[in-house]
Symmetry: C2
Subunit: 251 residues, 2 copies
């Protein structure tokens, strides 16, 4: 936990009182004292510090602090992810890892090789996935929650929804290990947001590739090695980020 | 399992007989029949195919095949990893993910913020970590096992061991979120191998950074967001790989 996150509704004028795992973290891990400042942010809001005015170091832990939140939230990440719904245990890890890396919206979509049962997983409830997103933000010192959208039907997503937002993007990328262009041949020096679609274990079927291509998606790959979805998502995100950086050195 | 891996000692002339989880995989997942060819490789050896000559589709499963292994093993990956020993559950995941991405040697080393108890973990026994490496190879269709080396003492590793192999590398990189150069400013167009050192949760302490720098390591970062070690290792690997690719386009 590299930043303490609070809901705006938890703050009373500038005062924040914590009595849960966050208070425990401040006591046990940060070993903070009255007068110490800790990094604090409001979910989907500003960041800054909290100066501890009272602390109870025994169970039940509690911490009271005075907030000074003068830093704007980070910029919207440049990448939105379109992800064929992975199995729940993998989805949990991807949600927190990709939130830590920075992502605007995560569209979870259906695909031929997505197991139907995955759509009944508890992790698709907001109250379940929310904590994984928070872990990612707490890790990366960010306050901006990614937007999660569920699209249990492939065809309406790709035929109706994609056209409605394709204009927002500089690049529409479809990760596809075979037959694609290398990332380095695709990402140019232009600015603008990027939509990245990553398939299920076993990959997209030909029909799905064709439908994405009809909407302007470009097949791309980070190499010949076949990766699991959780590895591929991070590797693609990092590869695209590095390429943007070297091709827009003044940004 | 994108390739069936076997120990060279399991092969009798060109015949391979399987009766374990690999036989089950061929029956249940690949749903292969007599006459079908499946992708096969020998651990630390050649790759190719096996033509199924006999199959038992009920428990206990068994598969007999005739091998045709005419493809050379993949080239030695360009990257060696020096990793401050992470907690066992994270190490398991890193071992298979980084093997899938491709790595030559993984040096697991001590550092100030490595918990002492991690050195007693079962996963540090070859018979335990071997299966995680195999998973990575089976995923990425590779046969070359990474070499795992344990260095429970930091100082001899950095003062004595590093100098003995530093000459093998084009780049010696120390991942360090603060004060480093961006990867894109470090990786040049030269060929040659790369050693990447990644710290523990909480990072390297100043003394460790200084010791690595004395040996010629360059501090580098993939951005300002603080990542967990498992995310950082993949992101760094992918970032370095993409940069090598775009800076050596003819390779």
């Amino acid at each position: 936990m590299n930043i303490i996150l609070a809901e705006p509704g938890e703050v009373d004028v500038r005062r924040l009182t914590l009595t849960d795992h966050r208070a425990k973290h401040i006591v046990k891990v940060l070993q903070a004292e009255v007068g110490d400042r800790v990094r604090v942010g409001l979910i989907d809001g500003a960041m800054g510090s909290g100066t501890i005015s009272a602390i109870r170091k025994k169970f039940p832990f509690s911490v009271e602090m005075e907030l000074d939140l003068c830093d704007q939230p980070k910029a919207l990440p440049f990448l939105d992810l379109i992800l064929a719904l992975p199995r729940p245990i993998m989805l949990k890890r991807i949600l927190s890892q990709v939130t830590a890396l920075g992502v605007g919206t995560i569209h979870l979509i259906n695909a031929n090789r997505v197991e139907k049962s995955f759509w009944e997983a508890g992790i698709l409830q907001r109250k379940e996935y929310h904590s994984h997103l928070l872990h990612g933000l707490e890790q990366a010192v960010d306050t901006r929650l990614p937007d999660i959208r569920l699209h249990p039907q492939f065809k309406p997503f790709v035929e109706d929804f994609i056209p409605s937002l394709a204009g927002n993007y500089r690049h529409l990328l479809l990760a596809h290990p075979t037959g694609g262009r290398l990332l380095g041949d695709v990402i140019d020096s232009g600015s603008g947001r990027i939509a990245l679609a990553v398939g299920p274990e076993g990959g997209w079927v030909d029909y799905e590739v064709k439908k994405f291509q009809e909407q302007g998606f470009c097949c791309c790959t980070i190499g010949k090695r076949i990766l699991k979805v959780d590895t591929a998502v991070i590797a693609l995100h990092a590869g695209i980020s590095v390429l943007r950086e070297v091709r827009q050195p003044l940004k």
